[in-house]
Amino acid sequence: MISLAGRDIAHSWSKFVLTGIGLGLLIGVTLTMAGVYRGMVDDAHALLNNSGADLWVVQKDTQGPYAESSSLKDDVVRSVRGMPGVAQAANVTYFTMQVQGGDGDDTRAMVVGIESGQSGEPGYLVAGRQITRGHYEAVADVKTGFALGERIRIRRHDYTVVGLTQRMVSSGGDPMVFIALKDAQEAQFLKDNDAIQNDRTRTATNPAFNRPGVPGLLDAVQALQTSSHSVNAVLVQLAPGFGAEQVAEPIRRWKHLQVFTRAGMEEILVAKLIATSAKQIGMFLVILAIVSAAIVAFIIYTMTLGKIREIAVLKLIGTRNITIASMILQQALGLGLIGFIVGKVAATIWAPVFPKFVLLLTQDAFTGLIVTLVICALASTLAIRTALKVDPAAAIG
């Protein structure tokens, strides 16, 4: 028995393939949109993974360091190190700012201050080396566009890029630049020179700080104003055999600090920080999916309508209804399959070009495939109904 559908496709294959490709691009857009949503959530997870922490110790009553600002003194880490169940604790600062590259262009990046050899350090590199000097070296994410050996400027200091890493992003998708903690503390709280001069003058005109009988007081006050010993969070790694909550509770209770476990941090990042933008994308994805489904249905319907005369001829020569129906269904499914493959390939090809991370999950692809086929099948029923209602006389008339 010959395949009626195959014959029909072969008859006008170019039209069929072009329709499939058009459909595919539409499906590709939908898949990409799903990827954008997944990428957004994954950025948040990447941030947590890359910090390498089990617990985040932040300022009391804040939800820092990612969702809110949090400020701790940098010696808090020592008292945290002494708590039971803490294997490692490291200071870390996060600061989103414009970083000037060697060519003078600004790049928006999250500057992370790390203690080398502690958690918070980039877990893997793609080129170069980790920071070895205590000052003025940086490891950058490749997305920043910085090259090895490039001199980048953060505030008033030049840093040499010594290493490159990948997929180190903030929850907003900004690539990270890792620098030594002391540099970061300075960069975070350092004002520009004009502001410092103004502050000095302001302090000097304050009679409480500039007392003629107490030489040296003004200098001491001014030195105090410019020094910074604050960090945003302390990253804690648990010792084997300790539960996260078991370690977190004593720190909360006795150190009067807020402590988040990984689950709590995910909750903050995914459910609170990116919730609105994720919903926005999700909403768009839903509408796009509905529109795509409608377009697929219309394409199949109009394709059948275009063949209405041929179907009438088939009916006239006594073809069974089931044969005609299966022909239309097969064509619809074939169109859906081609569309899906084209869409998947297209999405994979253009995903890396996006400025922010686009994560194409295999499970999303499978869902997409099933939804596409179901929509195609549903759409074909509409076409089949019309085809079966056709009067064989139409072939002649």
Binding site: V126, G134, L148, Q166, V345, A351
Partner: protein, 407 residues
């Protein structure tokens, strides 16, 4: 004739289907969770490394002076300005002496008066001596007369009493004279003290140096100890270097140093560790060392390479070369569940191998003390975090620009 185009069409359609399926398969296997992780590997090799200590510091003067009055007062004049080279003993500034000159004049007058008093006392002594002589002669004569019973004993006693009184009067006059001499000594001492005070309001340079700041102008009032001028010895500039305690192993006096001043990043200067301070900073977790320049940075010796006090400097101290050991790039070091280790490739699959690390050099190489043997393949760079037994694909470099290696 009708079969041929159909066959061609079938072939074309078949080719299209194959192409589509191939594209899907490629996409599925090269991206997403099924794709292998691209890594670069390095075989562990033996070698030596020369560790170094890196720190930053500020240029400071080893010898600096704050020149100011020892008592509160008003500045009368300031003779030098910032940048002036001064010699030891040079007059730098003067404080208002207020009434010191007048008090000196008063003391001079008092001294003159004391001299007059002394002269008077001397005259009194002379007078007393004359009286005593006369009294002695009278007494002698009366004694002779009394011996021949020409006069009554009462008359003799009266003469004797006169002599004794004259003796006493002489002693009193002499005491008075030495009293005036002591008074003069006291007055002289007081004058000398005042003279010292008068000299003290002149602020002199304690040593050869350069004026670095002029903190008070003529007419302003300063308290005791407040500086009017600050001097430094420009030949004694050094760098006060701060080193992270965790990276300061091996810090010792005498180490050769390479100093890069912020003003001259292209011309590193030579130096060596002059002193390592016993006190470390507990708050910043840093140790402090002083690095002396190999050649003194004075405008006279090296006009191009002058440093300003307070300038930021980067210092690199070279430590002696280590013994031969296994070396790894530090990019390959991973921390997994509190353990330090590397991903070793065994039969094409990564396996986490804990290692013990030794010293590291500034160019990013680390000594491996144990855990690996020479020739082991170790993952250096990876596209993402590796897991035990993950599918990996070994490539030469992950980033095109990485060909040059670490800077």
């Amino acid at each position: 004739m009708k079969q041929r185009p159909l066959a061609v069409r079938r072939i074309v359609i078949g080719a299209l289907v194959v192409a589509l399926v191939a594209a899907l398969a490629f996409v599925a296997l090269r991206t997403g969770p099924l794709a292998p992780i691209k890594v670069t590997v390095n075989s562990v090799q033996e070698g030596k490394l020369s560790p170094a200590i890196f720190g930053i510091g500020t240029v400071e003067a080893r010898r600096s002076w704050m020149v100011g009055p020892t008592v509160a007062g008003r500045v009368l004049s300031v003779r030098v300005d910032v940048g002036d080279v001064v010699k030891a003993g040079q007059l730098l500034a003067e404080m208002d002496p207020v009434d010191l000159d007048q008090r000196l004049a008063a003391l001079d007058a008092a001294l003159a008066r004391a001299s007059s008093t002394q002269a008077a006392a001397q005259a009194q002594v002379a007078d007393a001596m004359a009286r005593r002589e006369l009294a002695a002669i009278n007494a002698k004569r009366n004694q002779d007369l009394a011996a021949q019973n020409f006069i009554s004993p009462g008359a003799l006693e009266s003469r004797l009493q006169e002599r004794a009184s004259a003796d006493a009067a002489l002693q009193a006059a002499q005491a008075n004279l030495s009293g005036t001499a002591q008074d003069i000594t006291r007055q002289k001492a007081e004058r000398a003290a005042l003279q010292q005070q008068r000299g003290n309001v002149r602020l002199l340079a304690p040593a050869d140096g350069v004026v670095t700041s002029r903190d008070a102008e003529a007419g302003s009032t300063v308290v005791a100890g407040q500086p009017v001028l600050r001097l430094i010895d420009p030949a004694s500039l050094w760098v006060r270097m701060r080193v992270d305690q965790g990276r300061s192993a091996g810090l010792a006096p005498g180490l050769k140093a390479r100093i890069v001043l912020r003003s001259q990043p292209r011309t590193p200067l030579q130096g060596q560790v002059a002193r390592v301070e016993l006190l470390a900073d507990a708050v910043t977790e840093e140790r402090i060392a002083q690095i002396a320049f190999a050649t003194a940075l004075t405008p006279a010796t090296t006009p191009a390479a002058t440093a300003s006090v307070g300038e930021l400097a980067e210092v690199e101290l070279q430590l002696p070369e280590t013994a031969t050991a296994l070396l790894l790039p530090n990019a390959s070091i991973q921390r997994l569940q509190g353990q330090t280790g590397v991903w070793r490739l065994s039969e094409g699959k990564p396996a986490f191998t804990p290692v013990r690390l030794g010293v590291s050099s500034l160019d990013g190489r680390v000594q491996v003390l144990d855990g690996l043997k020479a020739g082991d393949s170790v993952v250096v760079y990876s596209q993402k975090a590796l897991t035990e037994g993950a599918r990996v694909q070994v490539v030469d470099a992950l980033v095109k620009t990485a060909a040059g290696g670490a800077p």
